[in-house]
Point group: C2
Chain length 193, copies 2
């Protein structure tokens, strides 16, 4: 009994299921059937809406990136002053939404995907550029010319913390990670002053 207008609903369900399954399995070795099953439909339907598995992965990636971008923007509008803006970015980066197991596991696998799928690489590059420019903008008033270098290292730090989150076992602790990133930043700033 087909209701109309299912496309967006199905697609969203598939995207979420993709992320969950990648997180669960811990790699991109996930079958379309697994994903479709978790999303409550047949694998044929998944192909119907996305055409290929790769498209599914890319859609999932865009979803994570969009989520992250939205959260950063949201935190940024409510932020006061340069210090506040940086804190906002870090808070968003390590928020429960973005720093949850599934999402972080998905990140790791998207990094891998970007090695062989150009579009994935592109998406990742876009995100990195945006993060960098946000950081530089926030840091410049505090550190002038050194903003670029500091943003670079803070970016690496953030990625590193994501990575370690994946590797470690146990519940995620965004607060602790954000703490570390902030300490790093403060140390860098203090050094220049």
């Amino acid at each position: 009994m087909p209701k109309l207008g299912m496309e967006p609903i199905r697609k969203e369900a598939l995207v979420k299921a993709t992320i969950v399954e990648i997180g669960r399995v811990g790699s991109l070795d996930v079958t379309v059937s697994q994903i479709a099953k978790r999303a409550g439909m047949s694998s044929a339907l998944a192909h119907h809406y996305f055409g290929s598995k790769e498209e599914m992965f890319l859609a999932a990636m865009r979803h994570i990136l969009t989520l992250y971008g939205a959260e950063v923007r949201g935190a940024l509008v409510a932020a006061e002053g340069p210090e506040g803006r940086i804190r906002a970015i870090l808070r968003a980066s390590f928020s429960p939404t973005n720093f949850r197991r599934e999402a972080v596991g998905a990140w790791l696998n998207f990094w891998v995907l970007s090695q062989s799928v150009p579009e994935a690489k592109r998406l990742l590059a876009v995100y990195q550029r945006r993060l960098r420019s946000n950081l530089v903008a926030a840091i410049r008033p505090l550190a002038g010319d050194r903003a670029g270098a500091i943003a670079e290292s803070l970016g690496a730090m953030i990625d590193g913390l994501y990575l370690r989150e994946v590797l470690k076992s146990g519940a995620p602790d965004g607060a602790a990670a954000a703490e570390l990133a902030l300490r790093h930043l403060e140390a860098e700033l203090a050094r220049g002053a």
Copy 2:
């Protein structure tokens, strides 16, 4: 015309070929045939010596880890004083041997592997513990109680720099990466003083 004592030779060739192929393809989606071909033998022989693809991956991982460990130890014996010891560890971490494309690409994929293969996780944990304890030992004389926290963040920084190396395109630049890590460390140390 079978010469005897081929086992170690074949195994080494396979391990190296595994790393190269993983780096080339950019993922663990590498067939035993590809690896065997690059190593100059049939896939049947690869199975003969390693039993399974997973064993091949683990052997490759051990190889990379051993290489890294040896380089750190080597740099460490020639190091003078705490500062020198830290520099030694960083120099080894970002040396041309360890920071080359193939090796870094392999790392990324080993991180993924550790998500689903317990032995891979174990190996990675061993490496992380060793790195941490080396760092703490070198940092303690300079920062006392804060050594643990600093080692933690420096470790994350190193991993993050590896990750970024994979993502970026272009030739690897270990010197620049080591520079960033060192700046981070100095900033942290200065903060405490």
